[in-house]
């Protein structure tokens, strides 16, 4: 019969009210965990993806850093030639121009992500480890190598036609094995037909593969110095840029979940305050028997802490379960686990729940511990 079991008993004595409060905290924590899990998921996927990318440096137009491969290709053939010359001087292994094209709508089901490769470059140079399941790995001038997920989703098989525009049509020549990475969702095609569709000679990015022993950061800075208008990003740069953007979006998402958290906190405060009013006489008896103010204070704060930490824990569990369900869906749809309930997110959620309980409990607890004994005893 310790203090904690006294607190627990008191909560169990009013089961419906305690349960409703618990539910409030649970929902608040679940929503916070889910909101924040998207940021964690993106971080994790990004990190995994980047370690899988072959070339260590990407050259992109200034102002496009970190945006990935969206937008109109802006690197001119002239810039490419200068980059090749600069690369040769620095002794890099190769410079691969690439081009991205997205066809379709917002629904990942019907979208196609094309990546253009120069003649003679196979997808495994950019995504080391990808293997071909059927057909060939290196596309011919009119051929396309299709990622496993795209093939499954759109029911493509060897020989299937792919129409990029009314005048440009390619044929599936190879289907990749599932790798669990970005490549599963891409269609690799020669650069020429993509440039034809877009009506340009330009490229989206230049990928720089290094020779063993070369330092990505150093080469990147040297390339930038000799190529005005281009930005050289290492995977580390991309990570740092993404981290900045993710942190801002974390704050925004936390801000949204704050509303639920505040409501949950008010619920706890209300429940504890009601229980304090109902137990005034009880506290009077305890004080009369020799309990100090701190004892009453602890009794009440613990009640709030127990409610909120239990609600927080259950919310974390529910949040993790929902996050798993979301991942099952997004893995199926776009091949990425969008949501991750990481250790530090779990810890954060529990701390927030505890902080919630503490701030909801302190005022009622202070009030309860300050009622004069005579007054408390007088109330029945």
């Amino acid at each position: 019969m310790e203090i904690l079991s006294m607190v627990l008993r008191n909560l169990l004595a009013r089961p419906v009210r305690s349960l409703l409060t618990l539910l409030g905290v649970l929902i608040a924590t679940t929503s916070m965990v889910l909101f924040l899990s998207f940021g964690e998921g993106l971080r994790r996927s990004l990190a995994q993806e980047l370690t899988r990318v072959g070339p260590a440096i990407q050259l992109v137009p200034e102002g496009m850093e970190g945006l990935g491969f969206s937008g109109y290709p802006e690197i001119t053939p002239e810039e490419y030639r200068r980059a090749v010359a600069a690369g040769k001087e620095l002794g890099v292994r190769s410079i691969i121009p690439t081009l991205f094209l997205v066809r379709g709508g917002f629904d990942p089901q019907t979208s196609f992500f094309f990546q253009g490769l120069p003649q003679g470059v196979a997808p495994d140079l950019l995504y080391p480890g990808v293997k071909v399941r059927e057909g060939r790995l290196l596309p011919s001038a009119k051929g396309a190598i299709v990622g496993a997920k795209v093939a499954k989703r759109s029911q493509l098989s060897l020989g299937s036609p792919l129409r990029l525009s009314p005048r440009v049509e390619l044929w599936v020549e190879g289907i990749l094995e599932e790798s669990g990475g970005l490549a599963d969702n891409l269609i690799f095609v020669p650069l020429k037909p993509l440039q034809e569709v877009l009506g340009t000679q330009n490229y989206t990015a230049l990928l720089v593969a290094l020779n063993p022993g070369q330092k990505a950061e150093e080469v990147a800075r040297a390339l930038e110095a000799s190529l005005p208008g281009l930005k050289a990003q290492t995977t580390g740069d991309v990570m740092r840029f993404a981290e900045r953007a993710l942190r801002i979006s974390d704050l925004v998402r936390f801000g949204i979940s704050l509303v639920a958290l505040i409501v949950g906190g008010l619920l706890v405060a209300n429940t504890v305050m009601m229980s304090v009013y109902e137990r005034t006489r009880e506290f009077g008896v305890m004080r009369a028997l020799g309990a100090k103010r701190g004892f009453i204070f602890r009794l009440v704060v613990l009640e709030a802490l127990l409610l909120s930490s239990l609600g927080g824990l259950l919310g974390l569990l529910l949040g993790s379960a929902v996050s798993q369900a979301i991942n099952l869906y997004t893995l199926e749809q776009v091949g990425l686990a969008l949501s991750a309930v990481t250790f530090r997110l779990s810890l954060f959620a529990l701390l927030v729940a505890l902080g919630l309980g503490l701030s909801a409990g302190i005022l009622p607890a202070y009030h309860a511990s300050r009622i004069p004994v005579v007054e408390a005893l007088g109330r029945v």
């Binding site: 019969m1 310790e2 203090i3 006294m6 008993r9 008191n10 004595a13 006489r281 009880e282 008896v285 305890m286 004080r287 009369a288 028997l289 020799g290 309990a291 100090k292 103010r293 701190g294 004892f295 004069p372 004994v373 005579v374 005893l377 029945v380």
Partner: protein, 228 residues
């Protein structure tokens, strides 16, 4: 234990807007070992006196002393500590903590005093046996009769074996049989202690070693009832 409880020129005034109510005035008395009943008409200051003696409230005049210790010089928490170590209480009703079973109620002062769990339970059961309620040890107060509740409260008051015992109308809500039972246990416990019993019930008071008569907040008579 020579810590005699003493009141010196004790007084309490309440201010109610313009008017001032004198609830107790010039009360001086040293409570000897044995039982002392405090009687008087309603509003004569009995509860006020008990509140001051127990340190629930502070006087507006005079002081309460436990041996050499001046109660009104102590802080709220220090007075709580004095109560825990030196005083036991039985009130009229709603004495027990409703979410705790009978034995846990008895063990509550032992918890405050920091005794280990095993010792607490042993002592609580022993005390319940003494008031004849061992078989009710695991019942919640709501399942006990009024008389049983008061006996549990008495067992709890004795938990730390305090030298001073307070009771405010302990039999107020009981039928005749329970009243007898609680009264005899109470006076038995009061024999070797200082029992201070506040009551309207003259029949109950007559069993005490002495009776203090209050009237209009003043101590008007100290009587020794005829034995038997």
């Amino acid at each position: 234990m020579t810590s005699v409880l003493r009141a010196e020129n004790l007084g309490k005034r309440y201010r109610q807007g313009e008017k001032e109510v004198v609830a107790l005035e010039g009360f001086t008395f040293a409570f000897p070992q044995g039982s002392t009943a405090v009687v008087g008409p309603s509003g004569s200051g009995k509860t006020t006196l008990l509140n001051l003696l127990a340190g629930f409230d502070l006087p507006t005049e005079g002081g309460v002393y436990l041996g050499e210790l001046a109660l009104n010089r102590l802080s709220e928490d220090q007075r709580a500590e004095v109560r825990l170590k030196h005083m036991g209480f039985v009130f009229q009703q709603w004495n027990l903590i409703p979410t705790l079973t009978a034995w846990e109620n008895v063990a509550f002062p032992l918890l405050l005093a920091g005794l280990p769990p095993k010792a607490r339970k042993e002592r609580a059961l022993e005390l319940l046996e003494r008031v004849g309620l061992l078989e009710r040890a695991h019942h919640l107060p709501s399942r006990l009769s009024g008389g049983e509740q008061q006996r549990v409260a008495l067992a709890r008051a004795l938990a730390l074996d305090p030298p001073i015992l307070f009771a405010d109308e302990p039999t107020g809500n009981l039928d005749a049989t329970s009243r007898e039972q609680v009264a005899s246990l109470l006076f038995e416990a009061g024999e070797k202690r200082t029992l201070i019993l506040v009551t309207h019930d003259l029949e109950l008071a007559s069993q005490a070693d002495r009776i203090l008569h209050l009237k209009g907040g003043r101590l008007v008579r100290v009587a020794t009832p005829a034995p038997g």
